[in-house]
Each structure stands twice: as structure tokens, then as C-alpha cells.
Symmetry: C2
Subunit: 163 residues, 2 copies
Amino acid sequence: MEEIDRAIVAALTADGRLSYTDLAERVGLSVSAVHQRVRRLEQRGVLKGYAARVSFEALDLPLTAFVAIRPFDPSQPDDAPERLAHLPEIDSCYSVAGEDFYLLLVRVAGPADLERLLQEIRTSANVTTRTTVVLSTPYEHRPPKVGPDTLNHRHRGSNEPSA
Amino acid sequence: MEEIDRAIVAALTADGRLSYTDLAERVGLSVSAVHQRVRRLEQRGVLKGYAARVSFEALDLPLTAFVAIRPFDPSQPDDAPERLAHLPEIDSCYSVAGEDFYLLLVRVAGPADLERLLQEIRTSANVTTRTTVVLSTPYEHRPPKVGPDTLNHRHRGSNEPSA
DNA sequence: CATGAAACTCCGAAGGA
DNA sequence: TCCTTCGGAGTTTCATG
């Protein structure tokens, strides 16, 4: 019942292009039933979308780094995420507890691009930066465990169909 | 020509379930031609796979944190990534330059689970930890810019037709 | 939740620029 | 080599019970 939704979510996080036919076979339901469940999981916001995984090396973005930032002037309004959103090198932006305000995950072609990006970050958001270069990535974006206590039914997505 | 591969990659990173029909329409080629290009991008390792994006709140994993680790005894072999791989709460593991050895991105249900996980990390890998809690995530996993200098043709995936 | 049928998509074969 | 067209097999999607 609930178990089946978990199986569906687990299967789709591992392979986002699974056909409903394959999914139905895996979870032991008809194709239509699985299709309905997936649509409801999407509407509830449990499934937020689908993405291809790309090789950043192949895209000529082999250098990954974490950039911790804090405002140069802490009295000014803190809108760093919006001010930085236009920079495509920024993969992710986390607001964090601790000494820094935000932690950015960035991907660039090499040290020269990283330098340019850091200057751009500092001037765009009026912040200081502290950068940690990633040397290698043993693993990344592993599918979460979709276990027994999982799949909170009270959750509601304030969302629209993902485009 | 090359432009088309970039358009395909960009489209699939934004929506990994796009049909070949839609893709073909977007890039102005026949369905078969697009299908061939996608297959080659997959074989070259440019497209590494597809995944559904899930709401971690809905999965009852609302607490994200970064855990920086370094060995308790630096003279011992450093196999922390393998020793920690069995922990499903660990989303990603980065080997980093700087004071720490690895940076982990973890997702848990709450503070109690985080405490348990940190203990497990320390004992499993014989490391000390320094944890930064994520308060909110303005954005995450944005599609990379797939621009003019992009899509390195020299890159080879693990399997390659003999040439 | 299952069935079934229509519409659509996938995917390889064959041929042309 | 890369594209296109074409057709059978498979998939998606919806109405109905």
C-alpha cells in the first residue's frame, strides 16, 4: 500500500527513465495503477522532477569547489542567494549555521575560471569567500534510503507540474 | 552539429524524461537522429544516467548537514569513503584540499539521527568530525551551463567502439 | 485497482546526401 | 558519416467496470 509508493520512489531515483511497464512489473501492479501512483506522487511534490546525470569532465567543468561566504558588511540586507543566482557555475547554495552564512558548490573549467568566479561572487554579493577545492569525488548524489519510516503522507507540495 | 548535442544535453538535464519526439522537435532533427545522438552521448559517458528528484522533506529527511572529517590517526590507511559507503544517510563524499580530508553531505530525519550518524561515522572510519547544519537550501543541483566551450569530444566513457 | 483500446513513442532497417 | 523515412513492437494514457 504505502510500501508500493516507496518501491516506486526508490526505483525512479535509481533510474528516472524507467517505463511504467517496468515499474509495474517490479512492484506487482498493473501499468495503470502505477501510472496513477506516479502522477499522485508528482502532484504531492514527493517526486519533484527528473534530470539526466552528466559527466562534468565531459562538459569541461572538471574542477569542483566549495565556497563559504559571509557578508563584508553584516548590517546590510542579506540577499546573497538571489544576487548570485545568475552565475551558472554555482550548482547549489546552502544557508548554513556556523561561522559562514552560505556554502556554495561550484563547478568550473579550471583555476583561472575559479579565480574569476570568486571575484564575481565577492563583487556581486559584497561578501568574503573561503574556498575548499575538491580533489576527487568518491561518490555523489546517491539515492536516499527510502525505508519503512519514510514517505510522509502529511507533506503537501505547493507546486505545479514540473516543466 | 556540435551545437545540437549541447542542446540535447541541456534539455535532458532540465527534464530527464523528455521523449525523443519532443527532443527532436526542439533541436530540429528527426526522432531517429536524436535517438542516435543520445545513445552516443550515453556511450561516451557524457550522459551518465537519469534520476528522479525527490523532496527530502516528503521522505522524512528534512535535516541536511555537511560533515568534515579527518583521521584520528593520520598514519593509518585512508579508506574512509569505502568504510562509510554503507551508510545510506550519506548523499555525497568529496575528497578535499584544506584542513579536512573529506567533506560529506548527509540527510537525516532530525538532530537525534544526526547524532547517531556522527557516532557511526566516527567509529566506522576512525575519524573526527566537524559538522555544519544546513538551515535552508535556496537552490540545489541546478543544471550546468552547457555553453560554447563545452562538450569535450576527447572525453571517453568506459566503453568505446574500437576506432 | 484492472482491463482494454486508441494514440503515441521507441527503435531498428533500409536508403540517400 | 550522418541524416531521413518507414513500419512493427512496445508504451502511455484514458474511459469504463
